[in-house]
Symmetry: C2
Subunit: 194 residues, 2 copies
């Protein structure tokens, strides 16, 4: 066994992959039998390394007439405002993931309500899902991915400083539905930037 | 460069991974800095190999009073009936993926309508999404993953031979909504089997 030093830093493995996770052989880029798309294929052990979009799951916490916004302490969009949200993990439901992210990022306990928005972000290979939630106690305790967290009225939303289009879209639809007195489920496909 | 023979067969790379896709070093299972979960981590180059649930996207094609069912020509659930659906690919929206799968599995051209069901399947680390669709021409041309494809009336649905719970749930809700004359968006979290 080779003795390995600690790396200088850690980073999420990118989509591009060079070696087989099963046998460490070099991968080739080709269309496998009975397929129509280029994949990363191992010609040593036969493993096909499919890649698929990821889900980001979050909540729209509401207390009295205010919604919760979190100022991001991480890239991308450090210092911009977001609803609590993050990558869905294995072994959980979308609703449980949204609840977990809200607890992790804002220290906020919620009861998950209806699914509210499903937004395709093909340029990022992501789908974002936001849930309406009931807040049990408005106390906040921002986690390490959050610089600050605040309850914000519609008139005070910093629209030009919202981190992601999926968040501003979700907030816009939320306030529209609240004025109408009826909350729908909103599916939106964001266009790929040209 | 090592000369490699062709493998005996190809298979989807499983979730369990032993080697780094970036540098081929052996992976270790540990909680990375600033994280709370066990991950596959490369202590050589620093890549963290996160894993996330996948989306399965499909349609509910309708022609007159009938829906389209496809008999599966692949495992799992070979020989059982399903709505056309499959794994969402990179660079597409959920709706475009659902449309593509319907064309691939049944040779059917559709215009995608509203999102109809979003179903968590935590035991499979999947989320299934089905869309209502408009059928332009009911001619069918089953692809290689489909033994046969048929238009089926509600009374003739083979409920005990449906491939997946997400498909039977989606069909049940579809027929209920059709009777009511109003189609909603249905979010369901399937329980993990004990």
């Amino acid at each position: 066994m080779q003795q390995l030093a600690r790396p200088l830093g850690y980073f999420p493995a990118p989509r591009s992959q060079s070696f087989c996770s099963q046998c460490a052989a070099a991968l080739v880029r080709r269309i496998p039998p009975d397929d129509t798309r280029m994949r990363d294929v191992c010609e040593n052990c036969g493993a096909i390394h499919y890649q698929n979009p990821r889900m980001v799951v979050g909540t729209i916490p509401v207390w009295q007439d205010q919604v919760l916004l979190c100022k991001r302490a991480i890239e991308p969009r450090y210092g911009y405002w977001t609803l609590p949200a993050g990558f869905m993990e294995l072994s959980e439901t979308t609703a449980a993931g949204a609840q977990r992210e809200t607890l992790e990022e804002a220290g906020l306990q919620t009861e998950i309500g209806s699914l509210f928005s499903v937004i395709d972000v093909p340029q990022a290979d992501q789908v974002h899902l936001f849930f309406l939630t009931q807040v049990l106690d408005p106390s906040l305790a921002p986690g390490q991915e959050t610089l600050e967290a605040h309850w914000v009225s519609e008139a005070d939303i910093p629209w030009s400083e919202i981190a992601f289009r999926t968040v501003s879209l979700t907030l816009e639809r939320f306030f529209e539905d609240r004025r109408r007195g009826h909350y729908g489920v909103h599916y939106v496909a964001l266009e790929k930037r040209g």
